[in-house]
Structures are given as C-alpha cells and as structure tokens.
Symmetry: D3
C-alpha cells in the first residue's frame, strides 16, 4: 500500500539544501525536506563558556525555534510566553550534542560555535532536518575559517545526518515521516548517524504504545538507508569543502 503522498515506505521526501543562504553568518543554509523548511546558521564566537576556559577546547551549542506560522495553527512565541517550552529545549540539546559527536573539540580550539535552526515552515521532521542542515552550515563556517587560517587538523571528523522512522497504521514501518504520518504514528524514532554508519543518537518512543525488539530492528534498517542518502546530498552541496571532513593532521 502506498503512502498518502505516493512515496514508497523506504523513500525520503525531496531534499534540497541551499548553501550560503544569508549574507551575515559565517555558515548558513536553507534546507527543505518536502514541505519542511529550516534556516540553519553557524556563528563563530572566539570565547568559550566558563567551564571550558583555558583548556584549549571549543564548544558547540544550538538553539531551535519555529516562526509562529510555521505551523497550521499559529504558535505563541516563546518570548511572549516568557519561557522556552520543553519540546524546544529537548530539540536544541539534541542538535548540539549530535554535532559535537563528529567534531574534535580540541582541533577546534577555544571557540564557541552557535548553531541556530529556525523553522520557516513545518511539515514533520523539523528536528532531523535541522541536524542535517546544521551539519552543512557548520562545515561551511569552518571551511571558511580554514581558507584564511588553516586548522592543523580539520575539526569535523565525519559526516552527520538525521532522519525519522516509525510505525504508521496502514503502512507499517516507514522512513521520513511527514506531519500527517507523524501525528498518526504509534512508534516514532529519530536517528542520528555518521558517514561511517555509526549511531550518535537513537530516540525511540512509543506514543501510548510499545514495540518489540524485532520491530526495532526493522526501523533501524530503514533509518540507516535514509541517512546514507542524506549524506550523499550533503557531499554534493558542500563540493570541495566535503573533502575537508575527516582529514587528519597530515592531510590538512
């Protein structure tokens, strides 16, 4: 049985990543995954947070937000509500942690990279699109530094992308859920993986439901396939900068 938008169960939505989307940030992209659109930027700050000062290491931190009308119903701004909601906090912690897993913070040196992911339009999968886009924005920013002031070792050690998988009633296990599928899913799982096929994050959740070990394996198979395709797209967009990823000291 085909999905409501005609995709096969193991098919990603169309993905485009527009590099250098904005004039001010050191790195930026507009990533579109189907109707989901996110602006991801990377900002270089030559200071580090207090807990890292004087250790010769850098840090990566992320913020995530949605425009009020990214969604079908208008969402109240966090600034009006006076606090950041729990879902937003979870997502921005996830984005930062995921990116740090493929960055050599010592090779980065005493710098903070601020990642900002702002969802312009939401149709499911905004957190995974944010990670996939943010990886490109981050690589662009560091490649730009590298041009004028080369790193001894390029700080990004592997590619990184993310997607969602889940169980949707009529279709069983599916890859890259859009909003209608996500709302109906009994099990929802976000996967973050590297270019070498290793896991960075697995977040699987039964929504008033549970799943067996066999079902888990079915989801992981789908996810691995999707992430591998996303990383190919990242390589194309990055062009020459893609060659910097994973370079050892000798190569740089």
């Amino acid at each position: 049985m085909t999905r409501h938008d005609g995709r096969a169960v193991d098919q990603l939505r169309p993905v485009t990543i527009e590099p250098n989307y904005l004039m001010h940030p050191e790195g930026s992209v507009l990533i579109q995954v189907g109707n989901t659109k996110v602006i991801c930027t990377a900002t270089i700050d030559d200071r580090v947070p207090g807990f890292l000062r004087g250790q010769g290491k850098g840090w990566i931190t992320a913020e995530y937000s949605m425009l009020p009308r990214a969604t079908a119903e208008r969402t109240q701004r966090d600034s009006s509500r006076g606090k950041v909601n729990g879902r937003t906090m979870e997502i921005q912690r996830l984005i930062g942690r995921a990116l740090r897993a493929v960055v050599d913070l010592e090779a980065l040196g005493e710098k903070t990279i601020w990642i900002d992911c702002d969802v312009i339009q939401a149709d499911g999968g905004t957190r995974t699109a944010s990670i996939t886009g943010a990886f490109v924005a981050l690589t662009l920013a560091l490649a730009k530094i590298h041009e004028t002031k080369p790193f001894r070792k390029f700080p990004i050690v592997d590619f990184l992308a993310a997607t969602s998988v889940g169980f949707v009633a009529e279709n069983g296990a599916v890859l890259d859920l859009d909003y209608p599928e996500d709302s109906a899913a009994a099990v929802d799982m976000n996967l973050v993986m590297t270019g070498s096929g290793r896991f960075v994050e697995i977040q699987g959740t039964g929504e008033e439901a549970t799943f067996s070990r066999a079902e888990l394996n079915e989801l992981l198979d789908l996810g691995e396939k999707g992430i591998s395709s996303l990383i190919e797209i990242q390589k194309t967009v990055l062009g020459d900068a893609a060659n910097l990823v994973g370079m050892t000291k000798e190569e740089v």
Copy 2:
C-alpha cells in the same frame, strides 16, 4: 555626490514582494528591500480580545522579531533573555497601529488578525519593510475570506506603505536608508502613509542631534515620493485583490 551603493538620494532600493510565500498562513509574503528580507504573515482568529467582546468590531495586532543571525553580530533571542526588548515592543506596536489606521474594524467584524513579521536578514529599514509587507499579507488574507464569505464592505479602506528618510552627513536628505546609512544618520525618520497621500505615523528622531522646520519639510517631500512608489509595487503584486481595497458597500 552619489550614495555608497550608487543610488540617487531620492531612490528606493530594489523591492520585491513574493505573495503566498508559506503554505499554512491565511496570508503571507516574503518582502525584500535591498538586502533586508522579512517574512510577513496574517492569521485570522475568530475571537477578539476581552476589551472588544460583543461590540461587533475586530482587532489587528502585530508581533515582530529578528532571527539571531539576521544581523552582522548574532543577537540573543528574546526567549533566552526571558523578555522582549524595548525596541521590539516599539516596532510591534507601530505595525499594529499603522495597519489599524486603514482598516474599518467594524466592517472586519469580530475577528482578530495576528500579523507576524520575522526578519530573516537585516540591512536597515526592517520596521518599514515589515509594514509594507504586512499590508500585502493582510490584504491577501482578507481577500481569501472574501472569496468564500464576502464582506458587505471590504475592511481595508486604503493602501498603506512605509519608508525611512534621514540626514546622512555627506549626502544630506536621503530616502530609504540602508544599515550603514542608518548608523551614520544624524536624523532618522520613519513615515507611514496611505494611498491617498495622508500621514498615519511620523516618527522623527534626532540622534544626539536636532533638526529645523525646513529640514523636516525636505524629509517629508522625499518620503511622500518613496511611499507612492511602494504602493505601486503593492498594487502589482496584489493583482485583482488590489481592486478590493477601498471598496464601499455598494461596490462589494
């Protein structure tokens, strides 16, 4: 002497307005004024604030925000700082008040229109671009309602656009200041005017400087010219919907 970007003193930057930019909102545009880019959306809400309940009148309210890297230096999010700053509050009050001046709130009926202006990229004039873009988003949203459930009188009674004028050292009075000009300006004035050439708002400020009555008149002349051009652009973008603006009961 020509301006730093080659414009004449009475020349606007290139302006484009992309209608229906987002899939979810009732009305939306991406407005670009030079390098300044703002997403403006209009959301229809069938309730009104408490102070208007049961009076048969509607309301228009606006929120304004900038993405953190809309600017050359990253700006901290209001949600991180836990409060909206004073500049943001001034701007969103201005946008709402300006739009209400050309809307017949009784013809609108008991509805609230939420206007959201989110600056994607800032290069001066974000508040005036927001007003000019928001007018189009608002008209699109009301025209959409009008298709299926016609108003007895179309609630928008006149066109509305905004621009800035100011005194910049080497060039004297100039129209539509970009960020470098705005930073250097001794006097900075925002004007909001209607299609029939009447004023809605004049906000003129000496920045550690003052200005004479003659200088004021010079600025007003420039502003009237610029706003008239902006309204021509709005009419082109709106197409048939432009004809609804100012329609009396008989015509609708």
Copy 3:
C-alpha cells in the same frame, strides 16, 4: 468654541515646577501640568555602561512608571505582572533619547545619569511633563556637581521641553491635551524641542485616523508656541543655574 476646561486652543494648562523636592537625589523636581503630577529625579553614577567604557563619554538613561492609583482605574504594578509593558518602554526610551540630544556626552565625562520619572497623578501628557521636568532635575544635578568640581564645558548645551498637540473633534487643533481630550483625539502628536526652536522628536500618530500635510503644519505651529512658554518657566525655576546651559568652555 472653548475647550471643556475653558482653555483657548493654544493655551497650556497651569504649570508649576518645585525644585529639590526630595532630600536624597542629586537633582529632583515635582512638576505639575494641570492635574498631572510627576516626580522627576536625576542620579549621578560614576560608572558607564559596558559599550562606553574607556571612551571618556557619559550616558543618560531614563525609567518611567506610574503609581497604581495615578489613574482613574487602578493599574497593576509592572513588578506584579513580572514585566514592563510596551507603553512604558517606549516612554522611557523617548525620555532618555530626548535628554541626550541636548547634552554633550563628552563634556559630561564617564558618568551615567539615571533619570526617574514617577507619575503620582495622571491626567494626560505624562510623558511630555516627564521630559520637561526631567530636564530641570538633570540641570539641577549637574549644576550641583559644577559648584564643587566645575566642568570645563557645562554639558547641557540647550534647553529642552515637550508638549502634546492633536486634533479633537469639536475644537480642531489644540495644545497640551488633558486626559479627556487625549482619549477623544483623532490625531495625537508629541513634540520635543530645544530652546533654539529645533526639533528633537516628532511622534505623530493617527488613532484609526490619518492627517494631511496642512494639518501637520497646523499642529507644529501650536507646539512650537507651547514649548517656548514651557522653557520660560524652566528658566525661572532654575534661576542662576539657567545661565550654565549652553555655556562654552571659555565662558565656564
């Protein structure tokens, strides 16, 4: 047709300014404009905000508030609501900006002046009364410093006062609106001007209304007249200290 309180259209309400109203502040006044009463104080702080440190320049910043029962209906305190409302922010930014326009911040040296305007009783025109009173409190505070530790150039370069003008249905253009007039006004304009007749701020707003260029000129004529009278009153109150205003290095 006379106004509801018997004034001519170009007549100010009775104005009194009581200098040195409080025992603690470096400068203070109680200004009364009709029934509007505001305590204005100026506090000298020998530090400057971070963005000015080490530049040999000073700064002036203002805060504005109303007692809960300054108004006919009790207003909730900002501290209970946990945030400062938009109107308050606009007003305190206006007061600070207006005063800075007549102060030579380099002559002031590395000092911050805190201006506090607390409305004890409100009957329209609280922001313009605040500016007019704050100018006197500021001058008193700097004159006091000057007595014991003379400035090489007195930092206040010109007088400064403010009033409101507007269109009220039955009376047309009027000067110095009280609360009943302000509530009914179609157009409301606040003007801040100097002793030499130059503009510092023009903030004109149509309240669900618009105004023509000719109507604008009518309002400006009225405002100039009123501000000139207010500055005469300031000079009387300041006595000898008035002579310090505008003194060049040679004279001081």
Copy 4:
C-alpha cells in the same frame, strides 16, 4: 543622653497626615513621619478573590513599593529586576494582615480593598508609617461609600497604628527609630496595636544579637505610648469619619 536629632527616647518624630492627597482613589493620604513620606491609597473593587467567592465576605490586600530615589542610594525597580524582593513581600503581607485585624470582613461584604503604599522618601519606619497612613486611607474610602450607600455595620471595628521600637547602643530603648538609628540598632521591633490597646502584630528581631524578657517589656511599654499618640493624630485627621470606627449595627 539625647538622640542624634534631639528627641527624647520616648518621643515620636513630627507626624502629619494629608487626607485626600490624590484625585482618583476612593481614599488617599500623604503621611509624613519625620523625613519619611508615604502615599497610601485605598481602592474599592467589587470583586473578591476566588477563595472567598460566594461567601458574603470581603478582603483587604496591600502592595508596597519605594520610588528608586526614596533612598540615599538609588534602588533598582522591582520591574527591572523582574521580581519582587523578599523584604517587599514581607512588608506588604504585614500591611494587609494588620488592616484585616480591625475590619469585619462580613460587614464589608463582597468587596476587595486594594491598599497601595508608595514610599516617596525613606528615612526609617516606612512599614509602620504605611500601616498608620493606610488605616486613614481605608477609613476615608469606606466613609465615602457609607455616605451614599450606608453599611448596616461600619466594617472598621477599631483604630490601628504602628511604630517601631528598638535598642540603640548609646540611648538604650528608643521609640520611632529613624534610618541612622535603625541601621545601628541591636534589636528592632515593629508593633501594630489597636485603639483599645491590644496587639495585632509583634515582630521583634535581634540583628546578630538577642534580648531578654525584661528588655522585651521595656520595648513594649515604649511602643504602647507611641501608638496611642499616633491614633490621636488619626482621629484629628479623620474628623467626623472617626466616629464611624467601631460603630455597631444599632448605631449606624
């Protein structure tokens, strides 16, 4: 040994209470106790808090604040700090509780009285001056209601005033401490008492010090004397309205 301002140890500072100080509130006074000046207002609200709804009883609640320059050093506004500090909370809870002790909340009926005490100038004893002044503002407000819509029983059942007592090194036990005395006191006690000489509140605190039972009795004797004088002043200020206090149903 006389006190630093020449008073005897059992002598109050000069006290004045100006009734009907403001035009808007139902009841208001400016109370001055030496250099301490507080504006106290009483606002009648025809609703009661949720926990009292439908019980036929009223409520009295108080807020207390200081203008930033009521003090020798400028105090940051609660609204800038985003929260009310602990000292302020203690004081406003004390004021409300004290007034409720002399009010028959059933005779009051379903009404909330908001008491606002705003300190214009502080020189010690601001909380006790607030209570003494607020009692007069409250009585004025209820007497005003009583004129047009008489209570079956006047809700205020007794007079109420407050003062401070304490041990100050060179003078021993003293009445009505001003700021220099309060800063130096080893023991500080606030007393609230009724017209019939009963206690409503005793708050005695050793400041890094302790006190014996005999010393406690010495302080209570002084306090009783001072409060009795303050109540005489209240009666004079209230004039005829003083007769309403304590009236039973038959008398009203």
Copy 5:
C-alpha cells in the same frame, strides 16, 4: 575486571521500594537504587487539561526535581534561577510519556494523575529510578481508588520499569551505571520496558562518541535483563495490588 563497587557488569545495585512513604498523597514510595534515593508521589485530580475536556479520557503528567544537596556540589534551585532547566524538562516529559504507555487513559476516565519525583540523594540513574518508583506510586494510588469505587477495567495494562546501560572504558557494556560510571561513559542509554518485554523508550546517546549496531545489541541485552529484575521487585512491593495490573474488564 570487576566494577569499582565490586558488581558484575550485568548486576543491578541493591533496590528497595518503601510503599506509602508519606501521609498525604494518594500513592507514594521512597525508592533507593544504591545510593540514589527518590520520593515518588501520585496525586489524583478530578479535572483534565483543556485539550482533553469532555472526551472521557484521563491524563498523566510528571514533575521531577532534585533537592539542592542531592548532589556532591550544591545545585541552585530552579525557583531561584526563575526557570526550569533543559535537563529537568527532558526528564519530566520522559516520565509522563513512559507511564502513559502502560495506562489505558479511557479506562482511567476524566482524571489527571500528577506524578512528582523528588530526588533526595543522587548517585546516577535518577531518571530511571524515578520511572520505576513512580510506577509503584501510581499503581498504589489507583488501587486505592479501586477499593472504594472500582474501575470497570483497571487502567494499568502492564508493568513498567527503567534502567540505564552504557559503555564504560575498562568494563565495556555495563548495567545500571552509578554516578562515577555515568560520568566516564562513552555511550549512555536509558531503557524503559514493560512487563511483557516490549520497549517504551530507547534513548541512546554517544557523548562525543558513537556506537555500532552490534554494540547497540549488546546494550539492549543487558537492559532487558535488568528491567525484568526490577519488575519482580515491584511485584513483591505491590503485593495484592500487583494482581490488578493488566486485568481486563471481565476480571475486574
């Protein structure tokens, strides 16, 4: 190689659950997992949140907090910081979601259950101990209702417990990490599973590290074993109430 506290790699710490630990809540326990101590309570509220009103369904929501000295270094209270931190939000969302997976919200009826998990002493695994303890508190609370007002179907459909697994340098994959192990772990995974061996949540995170599919399977094997033991302990503690879990309508 044995672990720093002498445990085998697949061994839980000693676990005790003291039921009915507090006098006021409908259900409460003190759970101890090694040195980690958490008070878990369940509160029945006969209202539901707005989004569920009138649907005949209930809701379960959780809050989580640590006493300031639950930890080796004192932690600032959320109430002093004025906001809940991101880690706390993640944990309380996880607890609520996990419990809802084994509760039939329709069988529960229009009630909200508030789960409070307060960590008295922290030594690793506070979130998994909270889930394991909260399940018992919840069952106790519903069993108590069931005594006087039996459910047609008992709302808890299966047992639920949680533990952590991870990779620690010298020991490889280990079960139930204490704080020193957790701090040193390269990969950290929290598992929530049911009595029938199905997954509710998998949250696996590389801490500046990644993991392979084979390593993932090794962790899952360990976790399944540990959770099965925890559920045996829950059954013993619950006694007769354990029989209610999973009862169908017919049996109840």
Copy 6:
C-alpha cells in the same frame, strides 16, 4: 480539656533528629516533629557575598521549600509558577537571620554557609522545625571542619531552637501547634530562643484577631518551656559536638 491528639497544653509533639541523613552535604539531618518532617542541610562555600568581601567575616543564608505533596492538597512548585511566593521568602529570611544571631561571623571567617530546609511532610510548625533542625546541621558541618582545620574560636556561640505557641478556641494557650490547631488559632506566635533563654525572634500575629499584654505573657511562658526541651534533644543528638558550642578561644 485535652487537645485533639491527647497532648497537654504545654506538651511538645514527639521530636526525633537523625544526624548525617544524606551522603553529600557537610552537615545534614532529618528532623521529625510529630508528622512534620524536614530535611535540613548545611553547605560550606569558601566565597562570601559581594557586600562582605575582604572583611574577614562569613555569612549564613537559608532556602526553604516544600515538596508538592508535603501538604494535603498538592502545591504547585515555585519553579512552575516562575517565582518564589511571599510565605517562602519570609520563612527563609527568618531561618537565616535566626541562625546568624548565634554565630560569630568573624570567627567563621570568609565562608558562606548555605542552609537548605526541604519539607518532606507538613503538619504544622515547618518553619520552627526547620530552625531547630538547621541548627543541628550547621553545628555538624562546622564540627566537621573543626576536626581537620580547628577554628581558633568555635563560631557557634549558643544553642538555638524554635517553636510555636498560640491561642486555640477550646484549649486556650497551647504549645507546638499541629496543622489542625494552627488553622483554627486566633493568635499564632513563633518564638526563636537561645540556650541561655534569650529571645532571637518573636513573631506574634492575630489572625483577624488581637491579643492583650497578659495573653502575650502567657504565650511567652509556654514557649520558653518548649524551647528548653528542644535544646536538650539537640544536645543529645550532637553528642560530643555539643561541647563545641559556646567555647571561647581559650577552650578551643
């Protein structure tokens, strides 16, 4: 007439104090006064607040909180409400002030002691139990320092305990009110006293009631008796550490 729980009017509830209740803090106890249970901890911090820096003196500050289900009805957390309520602020200020009265801050040296009192179960008298328990936690923490790094003079100069007294309708003056008595009391007084029988704090409040000088004396007599018993219990719990309290330089 006996009290509802069978006690005599001058009888305390059963009191137990479990020392070293937690593994992390420098000093900790679980105090139980009847059904009221409070965890009190003392944390040593080698910094002092800004206002004491460089003066060779220390500081003691306290925080107080209740678990949500310490009470019969669930209480919302301060962190959810975004602010600390007035009652909490009053209590934590009281605890800190009371402890400081028996500590020689100069003998303490440049250290801050953080006292945390967390109410696990509430049945009246939580603030006085907190003071009585916190005194023991503080003494344990300082005795621990003293073992390895002896003070020249032990900083605690006297014992300190607290209890409540009040007037309850049918029983008259009673000692150590539990929650049902406290709710019904017309007059409620908290007393903090030292081992040598001197007062540190008296906080007596008529709850919509008043009290005479004779009634005050009756309450003080009861309170003195109760506090004397509490200090005996503290001495037993502290064992050898009790001998350090009040030691002069020579003795230490």
